[in-house]
Amino acid sequence: MSIAELVAEASLEHVGYSSDECLKCNVCNTVCPVARVTDLFPGPKYVGPQAARFRSGRTSPVQVKDWPILASPDVTVDYCSGCGWCTTACPAGVKIAEMNSQSRARLRAGHRPKLRDWGLGQTDLTGRMGVLFSPIGNFALSNRLVRWGMETFFGIHRKAPFPKFSRRTFQSTWKRRQKRRGLPLAPRRLAAAPAALPAALPGPDKAVVYFHGCAVNYYEPHVANAAIAVLERNGFAVIVPPQVCCGLPLISNGLYADARGKAHENLEVLADYARRGYKIVGTSTSCTHTIKAEYREMLDLHDDDSTVVANATWDICEFLLDLHEQGRLNTDFGRLDEDLPYHAPCQLRSHGIGLPAMDLFALVPGLRARDMDHDCCGIAGTYGMKKEKYDIGMAVGGPLFAKVKASGAAEAACDSETCRWQIEKASGVRTKHPVEILQAAYLAGDKARHQEAAGVGSN
């Protein structure tokens, strides 16, 4: 391998090598939302590329069995929220946020994780338990004494935004629905030969695989309902194969080994579908980004499965806007005469796909969507829920909450679930997923056409 090839490979594949590109220009420090509000975090440059020189063996994967445990010298890296603004703004292509996440995982390696951090990573477990005992769970989460206990004993801030648990999981609802319609459930493994596709399973030109994520499964089934309705209206049947948490909450809490377990479970199922040409569409912009980028970059899963699945995965707004670009999006939107403040979440920015929700909103007559143009809402997944970081998160998102409130709008929109919960809690304005807005626009269109047909229309 020539030196040039080595350099090229290093800059593409390895987060750690990218610190060699750092100019020490401080641009990352100027965009860091956390360093903006607190002295506890010195800024991404200091804990990232600057500290990298003290981390020997920096290119080796993190928390992989038989690899040595390498310490990170700077504990303040734990105050990084993982929003990714530093990586975005770096003019030299240094993967600063990724480096910081790996450093945090190195800090955790070899130690038993804090119960709180472990628990916040187990979204499947807490979700399943919460749904199973949802009346009790919802009572508990809205009970001050319980929240005081959670803060005192577990370190989860008493005011941290938690949505209500659903009465049942989206997966079980979906299974019932498929049964009711007499449709098969998507299999875990598609048989080897294409001819053996289950007869009732529509082909990749007529169906997409839906990656629902934990939020939809345990808390927000209405987002899935809207997404499925929008997809079906555009001629796509929805396939929901067995799936688990994408692993991002584990990655953010430094539990890489557990995250790899989740990733493998998902990849095993999704790769089969991706190889058949199915697109994997998700409503959680952080889940889709994890599958697209972090399985490979953070978890070092560089196999064929991770690549084929990453290439097949789409954020739902990205997917719908692509349909529109091909002239295939159903644009029978009715009028939505309203102001709609919109927050582009950090994870969406990490996708690098522009602002697809804003482009879609522009197709809805009457809808006055406005990008709030704020860096981060402060929640950053589970960061802003933690006792010692709650105030930081609220300060980071403060100007956003004020803007949303000042807009006087009845509802706001945001692609990422924890951001929606944070904005809704802090601003008091109901915050929805963009597909919910699009579905409302379709329904408004139906209604208008219906009225017209019935002769009730104004003309």
């Binding site: 220009c25 903006r36 770096c90 697209k292």
Partner: protein, 458 residues
């Protein structure tokens, strides 16, 4: 997966100028940038032209325009108008600038204890450019614990007359450090963190009191009488800068001014934010973290650009492209191991000295480093041209530091070239897209020099 009338690649001074000009003419504009750079690294000043021996930027501009191949050969007549246009935009967003093409080129002290020639400066830096009275004292006031500004070193250096060239400097230079509330124990005190503190009116009040007391004590010790100017690190507020600086000016015994620092440059961040705000207001969009990975062409036109997003590209169909990717430092021009230059986004040919001329005995040659002049050659419409002078791409405009023939470090022409070329490109492309919108698909021509052939908007 998106579309625009004008895609601007790069979010520095030239790119944002082009984007604002285009958006103001009604075009749908997307700025795609790899990251922040130019503005965040610079002084925040608008350097038009600065040559030793020239009294004003206009005089230096005339000399540069007469140099064969200098971008000012094409742009000179636009410079004044474009700088005034930009100044009005910035003033409208609360960031006032002072000086113009006919202001004297003054020796402005720098935060490493030298001086540089400048004339058009943010209002907070402008007092440094006024001539020094006989007997006037300069107090360099630092912040205790802040490592990017060393008042003693700066004062010792500025006390030497040779740094002031042929112009008189201050009679005496004093140094002092002020202890600002809560700042002395911080480990990583940086310019931006300080600037944000100055946005807080309560903290600012205390800080200004401390600065004022420190300056007074120093003057008393030196038994000074006469007028005073106070140099401070450029950290006096970020969002509330104008109010913070006004309050400071009211309270200090002498006229304060800011000295720009090593990056992150607070005056540069203010400049970037003001321009970005103006662009958003005009309906434009800025996307940072977008690296162009592929360009689609139809004949000699660019029809779409794509960036390498997570696992797939982000494709933007466009009627035109402004290339504002900067020079060698900005990453717009890249060289391979053999010394061949290429333009990074469109693969345009680069005019550059041969490799054997890259190394010179004196790194600080009076004429500037030979490589500084590397860049892309264009016609008067700023379209890239080949060696025969024919446009390579009809709907591409090259602006800013990517333009061949300038030596921005030595000639102090960076902002002038950026703003003049940015405005010209943005206006022309904006007018073109407005023409398209009005003509609904008809082939349009806009302006005498701007003929777009066979271009029908989809």
């Amino acid at each position: 997966m998106s579309s625009a009338d004008v895609v601007v690649v790069g979010a520095g001074l030239s790119g944002l100028s082009a984007a604002i000009a285009a958006a103001q003419s009604g075009a749908r504009v997307q700025v795609l940038a790899k990251g922040h750079a130019g503005t965040h690294w610079g002084t925040g000043g608008l350097d038009v032209a600065a040559l030793p021996g020239s009294a004003t930027p206009r005089e230096a501009l005339g000399r540069l325009a007469a140099m064969p191949g200098h971008p000012y050969g094409l742009l000179a007549q636009d410079v004044q108008g474009s700088i005034e246009w930009l100044g009005a935009i910035l003033a409208g967003r609360g960031l006032a600038y002072e000086g113009g093409l006919d202001s004297p080129l003054a020796r402005v002290p720098t935060s490493i204890g030298g001086t540089r020639l400048a004339a058009i400066l943010p209002a907070a830096q402008a007092p440094a450019a006024r001539p020094w009275d006989a007997g006037e004292t300069l107090v360099v006031c630092g912040v205790a614990g802040f490592k990017d500004f060393w008042p003693d070193a700066i004062a010792a250096s500025l006390a030497r007359p040779r740094f002031w060239g042929d112009r008189p400097g201050p009679e005496s230079v004093l140094a002092v450090s002020a202890e600002l509330p809560g700042m002395t124990e911080r480990h990583n005190l940086n310019a931006l963190a300080l600037a944000r503190r100055f946005d807080d009116p309560a903290w600012r009040e205390e800080a200004i009191r401390a600065i004022s007391a420190a300056v007074d004590a120093t003057l008393r010790r030196a038994a000074h009488a006469g007028t005073v100017r106070v140099a401070l690190p450029a950290v006096i507020g970020l969002d509330d800068h104008a109010a913070a600086f006004a309050q400071l000016s009211d309270r200090l015994v002498g006229q304060p001014f800011e000295m720009p620092l090593v990056p992150p440059s607070v005056p540069g961040v203010r400049l970037y934010r003001a321009l970005r705000g103006a662009l958003l207001e005009a309906g434009g969009r800025v996307l940072i973290g977008e690296v162009i990975s592929r360009v689609e062409r139809d004949g000699n036109r660019v029809t779409a650009v794509a960036t390498s997003a997570a696992s797939r590209e982000y494709r933007v169909r466009t009627d035109s492209v402004v290339l504002a990717t900067g020079g060698i430092a900005g990453g717009g021009l890249v060289a391979d191991m053999e010394g061949q230059f290429e333009e990074a986004v469109l693969g345009l040919p680069v005019e550059a000295p041969p490799r054997e001329e890259w190394l010179s005995a004196d790194p600080f040659e009076p004429e500037g480093h030979p490589l500084e002049s590397a860049g892309i050659r264009t016609d008067g419409d700023l379209r890239p041209i080949d060696t025969a002078g024919a446009p390579i791409l009809e709907n591409v405009r090259v602006v800013g530091a990517s333009l061949a023939g300038q030596r921005p470090l030595r000639q102090g022409c960076k902002a002038g070239v950026s703003v003049a070329s940015g405005q010209r490109a943005g206006r022309a492309l904006g007018a073109l897209s407005a023409g398209w919108a009005a003509g609904a698909g008809a082939v349009q021509t806009a302006g005498p020099n701007l003929v777009e052939t066979g271009s029908v908007r989809p």
